[in-house]
């Protein structure tokens, strides 16, 4: 799929662990792991909103279209 999830990059930049993000966002670590690998079927705006808020970033920092 040409959409790449850069969640691990943002986590490294913010020096956050997946578990800490999970607690901040209210999404389970399993779901975040699946999202990190780009294996989810869809992502809700509410989840994206919460992740952006927690990581202080833009949706484009997490999702990237690669041809």
């Amino acid at each position: 799929m040409p959409i790449v999830v850069n969640l691990d990059v943002m986590l490294a930049k913010r020096k956050l662990k997946l578990k800490e993000l999970s607690e901040k966002v209210g999404v389970s670590t399993v779901n975040l792991s699946i999202l990190k690998q780009g294996k989810v079927k869809a992502i809700r705006f509410s989840t994206l909103d919460a992740i952006c808020l927690a990581l202080d970033c833009q949706p484009g920092d997490i999702l990237e279209y690669v041809e």
């Binding site: 399993v30 779901n31 975040l32 699946i34 999202l35 690998q37 294996k39 989840t47």
Partner: protein, 168 residues
């Protein structure tokens, strides 16, 4: 095997009908023995249902006392992650997680016995195929030669929950 099961059930119905006509009298030893046998098998199934060790007994095609539904689904998620995901989904579903074997990657979940359902055992195993995971589901009734649709519905609901849980 299904034909054999249908023939067995038809035979049992005819046999029971015949027995009822000739032997349904109070304190008849044959009727009492037959009732004890049915209750005994039911209690035996009830006792052993919460163990993965008896998976082969419940899921065997030769076990005519249970109805089985098999399904395989492929997910492009690693086995370890999918294993945790399924546990999470079961914990949020009407099924009760009973036993988890982390070494063999096997899960046993059950639905409880209610006035509308005799209960159901759900066995899930995981296999790796490259980067993907094959989930093998086997839903077995606890003690029921025919499933009247309730078990299938529970099972479908869980599969739908797994699908919808992949939207985060």
């Amino acid at each position: 095997m299904k034909t054999l099961k249908h023939i067995s059930i038809a035979f049992l119905i005819v046999l029971i009908s015949g027995l009822i006509v000739y032997y349904l009298k109070p304190n008849n030893p044959i009727v009492i023995a037959f009732l004890f046998l049915i209750v005994g098998v039911f209690i035996f199934n009830l006792i052993i249902r919460k163990s993965l060790s008896f998976k082969n007994y419940f899921t065997s095609q030769y076990n005519l006392f249970t109805t089985k539904t098999w399904l395989e689904k492929l997910y492009d998620i690693p086995k370890e992650l999918m294993f945790k995901k399924i546990i999470e989904v079961i914990n949020n579903s009407d099924f009760k997680l009973v036993e988890v074997d982390k070494d063999k990657f096997e899960i046993l979940a059950i639905s409880t016995i209610t006035f509308k359902s005799w209960g159901e055992n759900l066995y899930i195993s995981f296999e790796t195929k490259g980067d993907e995971t094959i989930l093998k589901f086997c839903s077995s009734t606890l003690f029921q030669m025919y499933s009247w649709g309730k078990n299938g519905k529970n099972y479908d609901d869980l599969l739908n929950e797994i699908e919808s849980s992949l939207t985060v």
